[in-house]
Subunit: 701 residues, 2 copies
């Protein structure tokens, strides 16, 4: 029998802590694979997950009750590496698994289903009590779908789970083995078949760099990200927790939104009524994931958990819809600004896939806050991937607040924000374990200032920079690729075969260089300045800020500065005066080649252990907003295991590399593993954990 997923998930499905009893996160052990005493001290109302004699089947060695069971399981964990249970030794006929560990029948496990106060799951041949984990699960209550049975069929669909850290988390909750009598010939219990809830997901643009397929998480490639002020809809980054709800286009105006006020009164509006009743407004606003540039933090400060976004978990669009404050006033809420009794309230948004998140009510009501209920994006009907038919747009705040497929708003004195939507950086090393301050850290609302380099051109290549007139096709409506890159990887984590490109022209002393990128600050704070360094921070120069809002083709609609600021820089890279590093390690390909090549001037460049004149350098960008806040210099000072808000100066290391001439003379070019432009090769980024698994799929339909 196939378990069927609902098209629209039930209320509270993934509510990220809304209206939930507080969880003592010190017992969650999110990031510690270390075994822990099962009788940890608990201050929460959650029930213990120690099996009682009532549910635990007596194991071969008896008297495993109460403290005795605890001692036995604890001794088991102390004696074994729980991450490497001896799978090969398990056979259905001869149970040579540790006899001191409890066994459970499938019938026992089934009693701990979705409605149980103590949900259990089976993975391989082991049983896990996930009670304490449900609250912390990034995907919310959807994990309960697997309760009472095997979790593997779900993980085969939600491929995001095929990562080592997910297994490490699960291992903390082991309570015993599946009884040998319930194991099949392969040493595993028989799992039920389930339907793929992602089968109706929309088709995506193949240019997107996909981090996970189910749910889909993808970012535009750098060369498309900020080519235009408004990111095209089909390239706007996608960040999903679940499948995309299906709403018939013809019935969109009948889609209902309910509004619950603090006094419990509930009002109901269809989208058609919203459109008819309230004036529509346009707002120009960035959406940015708190994980944007997480991969940058991983590479510069240490391992982080979560999707390893590059610099593209951010996009800019023009949103159109009605004002949330108009709706709330109509629904009966006192929307006079600065009501003392409302300043601590939250507006909780819930989407049709049951994700929810809240914003402080003062932001929702602020006459300059520009919070919208949007049904259009860049002049088109809101795409399914971006919340069709209705999405909250909360300008200046983390995108997690701009809830998609919005069908419910609750004004409440409780915040709807999971601990995943915080940044806490008590732990400054990647292996320091759980942080008791997670739940004390404020939830991420307004974003700090950040910036990124999205394009680098060195040497002759700058003739190809679109905004320098090198390519006439720099036109938002054109799908043509305008940047001649050395390689365009379709999947992150894999290196395409580099094309042979001509050597850039150089002068004896320096090469022309062009950079571009974006800068953004939350809270509506305007970017007032962008600084660029070509020499690792020793000297700086100002970039040109693109005044997109003054361009009649890209007008901005806003009470504050909610959009991003694109910047451009041209200068000269003083190649010969760059410091010579004595510790330069040549790329493997060069070490193998082991031969000299000539640069553009016929100079010989040795590949055997040194590049005597052309050395690596680090390009840096940093931005300043109108409050004169700037970005931190490095990720080390803001390191957090979640990799949230990775806003350090963006550094891109570029190095000279010898190209083989394929019969013609070779030469020197520059490469970077981090960004795009001509003359660059995209390096494999092994650190993007889980990418191999994700890339092995075929993408959404």
């Amino acid at each position: 029998m196939a378990t069927r997923f609902p098209r629209i998930a039930p209320r509270g499905f993934l509510n990220h802590g809304a209206r939930r009893a507080p969880v003592n996160l010190t017992t969650c052990r999110l990031f510690t694979p270390r075994p822990r005493p099962i009788h940890s001290s608990r201050s929460t109302p959650h029930k213990t997950r120690i099996p009682t004699p009532r549910t635990a089947r007596v194991a071969p060695v008896g008297l495993l009750v109460g403290g005795g069971l605890v001692a036995s399981v604890l001794a088991f964990f102390q004696a074994h590496d729980t991450g490497n249970l001896p799978e090969a030794s398990i056979t259905p006929s001869a149970d040579d698994r540790d006899p001191t560990i409890p066994r459970f029948r499938l019938s026992d496990v089934r009693k701990h289903g979705p409605d149980s106060s103590e949900p259990w799951v089976i993975f391989e041949d082991k049983v896990y009590n996930i009670t304490d984990w449900v609250e912390a699960h990034p995907g919310g209550d959807v994990i309960l779908r697997a309760a009472g049975g095997c979790i593997e069929p779900y993980w085969n669909i939600f491929t995001i789970h095929k990562a080592p850290h997910v297994r490490e988390i699960l291992d903390q909750y082991i309570i015993g083995f599946v009884d040998v009598a319930d194991l099949g010939p392969d040493g595993r219990p028989v799992a039920e078949a389930i339907e793929d809830p992602f089968e109706n997901d929309p088709v995506r643009d193949p240019r997107l760099i996909t981090h996970t397929i189910k749910p889909r998480n993808a970012e535009p490639p750098n060369e498309e990200l900020d080519r235009t002020f408004y990111t095209p809809n089909e390239l706007f980054y996608i960040r999903h927790h679940m499948w995309v709800p299906v709403v018939e286009e013809a019935k969109a105006d009948d889609f209902a939104l309910t509004v619950e006020l603090p006094d419990g009164e509930v009002k109901r509006y269809t989208i058609g009524e919203l459109k008819a009743k309230f004036p529509t407004h346009k707002v120009t606003a960035v959406l940015q994931c708190s994980g944007n540039r997480r991969n940058d933090m991983t590479r510069h400060a240490g391992k982080t958990n979560g999707l390893q976004w590059g610099v593209g978990a951010i996009s800019n669009a023009e949103w159109e819809g009605v004002r949330l404050s108009d709706l709330l006033a109509d629904a009966g809420l006192d929307t006079t600004p600065a009501q003392p009794d409302t300043s601590s309230l939250h507006a909780q948004f819930t989407g049709a896939e049951a994700y929810s998140a809240s914003i402080p009510l003062p932001k929702a009501l602020s006459p300059t806050g520009d919070v919208l209920l949007a049904f259009k994006m860049n002049g088109e009907t809101l795409p399914r991937d971006h919340g069709f038919p209705l999405r909250a747009i909360v300008p200046g705040n983390v995108a997690a607040r701009s809830v998609k497929w919005l069908n419910k708003i609750v004004i409440s004195d409780e915040e709807a924000t999971s601990q995943w939507q915080r940044r806490d950086y008590k732990s400054f090393g990647p292996n320091e374990g759980p942080n008791p301050d997670w739940d004390k850290a404020p939830s991420i609302q307004e974003m700090p200032v950040t910036s990124a380099i999205t394009g680098v051109w060195v040497g002759d290549c700058i003739k190809k920079v679109p905004w320098m007139g090198g390519d006439k096709a720099d036109n938002p409506s054109s799908k043509r690729r305008t940047i001649d890159m050395a390689a365009t990887p379709q999947k992150v984590g894999f290196t395409s075969k580099p094309k042979t490109i001509p050597c850039p022209e150089t002068t004896p002393d320096n090469e022309p260089i062009a950079l571009q990128g974006y800068a953004y600050s939350g809270g509506g704070r305007k970017i007032t300045r962008v600084d660029v360094s070509l020499d690792g921070g020793a000297t700086w120069d100002q970039a040109e800020l693109v005044d997109d809002c003054s361009n009649p083709a890209t007008p901005c609609h806003c009470n504050r500065s909610w959009g991003w600021t694109r910047w451009r820089y041209t200068g000269t890279l003083p190649v010969l005066s760059l410091p010579v590093s004595t510790t330069t390690i040549l790329p493997p390909v060069l070490q193998k080649v082991g031969q000299d090549c000539e640069d553009g001037f016929g100079r010989s460049v040795s590949l055997l252990g040194q590049l005597p004149k052309k050395q690596c350098t680090t390009l840096i960008v940093k931005a300043t907003d109108e409050s004169y806040n700037t970005q931190p210099e490095s990720h080390k000072g803001i390191y957090n295991v979640r990799g949230n808000l990775a806003t350090a100066w963006h550094r891109v290391k570029i190095c000279p590399e010898c190209t083989r001439g394929n019969g013609k003379p070779g030469g020197v070019t520059w490469n970077t593993g981090e960004t795009y432009g001509c003359g660059f090769r995209k390096q494999a980024e092994e650190v993007r954990e889980g990418m191999k698994a994700a890339a092995s799929g075929k993408g959404g339909k």
Copy 2:
């Protein structure tokens, strides 16, 4: 005849650019002592300052007209170090000064008085055309008082000018010599006597650290600064541009405030009317100078111009008055939030000493902006030094906007903000000359996040930390000194004789350490986190945030978080594991002593070139606000010649030092040149330029 200063300066006296034609700052050469071509290209409506034949007396070598004069003066500057004119060679009887330079009679100079379009001044025996400088003068138009005569009598009163950089600025405007016929026996012209306009300044608390006496600029010593949540009025830092206006206390309620609306209509309110007509409100707010911690930037990134504030150009108080928005509504302004036509307007404040500064109108009208017209401070009548009888209070913005002695408000489409109230950091070295971006940089309104260490105790001394119960007298109403410092300098720039203090108790491995300080962010953004490092940033720990607002004795009044957050930290300093520096240079006193001393455990500590186990370490604090903005790691990335917004991580280096026992056994203690606590000696900070001159006076009366 003594020139009399008005008690209340006339309108527009020091208006910091309000309603003034734009000045091309590229010609101001604020910070370059280099000579420049006098015929610089000019895009401003200002008149040239080249003397015309009409005003220039023909010099001994003739034909010094037009370009000929320019060439001659230019040649003069190219041949001489203008900062070191040969004073000794000047005698009234024999004029052996450079004959190629023009001479002017006093009667010529008098024609270029305060009302002239080309004001001139005399300094020593030289004549300067200060036309271009007036706009950039930090003290505003008051400089015109000296026009047409000698500037020295004014500088003798405004002692802030007795600094090398002031002389460097003036030297750029030299146009010739005073004619020998007008010089007295000392080689100088006879100057008029002037009255001291500061004679009615209030008496100040002797604990204040005075940077300049006339005008008074002073900060509280660290140990008093944040001992209490509300800084006592008598210790609140003082930042004046001029003398303190005199208003009779009995007539305070008759003091008039005029309000000018965009349509030109003028309304007039006395303070008595304000009190009678509008409800009073209290607001808890920090005031912070943009130059706070400037000295820190100087020491860590390079020379900066301006008052060399320590960490004390910030204080916190409870302000009481009426809301500016109430007044503006009553005066007839449409105060509905988010009026599109008003969002670009400014509210210009002018004080009785004629300083003026503006804020954006949306801030003035914001229902949560808490902008007050205050007449009380910490429950008392506003002190004269802090704006008696009326002061604008603009919470969250730089204190330059909280105009004292407020007597006029103009709603205008022009900003009233001088270029001094910006931060621009194109120049990353101290000698890079003028910055053409000064006037493009946005004016400082909302402040970025910052923090500082104000107290450090190591070893046995932590028993004396007031908030650790070591001193029962930690009472706001007590004037008793509660911190037993090794030295309490009364003046910055001079080292008091250190007292002999007992060696702190140590353990073989570490010593207890306690730190305290403050953190603050502008725009009402709450401080959510403070991190402390004891080892120069290698590891971090969180400080405890003092929840002053929840203390019934110190309630906070605000719609947003405008006050500071005090923090405390206790830990252990891992003395023996601190890195051993191979380049440690012993303090001179130790090099002279040249003997060993014993630490608290009888261990011998060598003074001859090494301190083998006890090494220097750097304490650091950094803060994070609710937008997750953090402080920049170093001042290098935000360096600006004005030293504005020096918000880098605050670093305090502490070093072990051997104390002589005075007959008894000596031992090891720790010192720092930067902050207070027991066991520390305040080092002279030579970099505080101008301090010697200021300290040679006797302080205000």
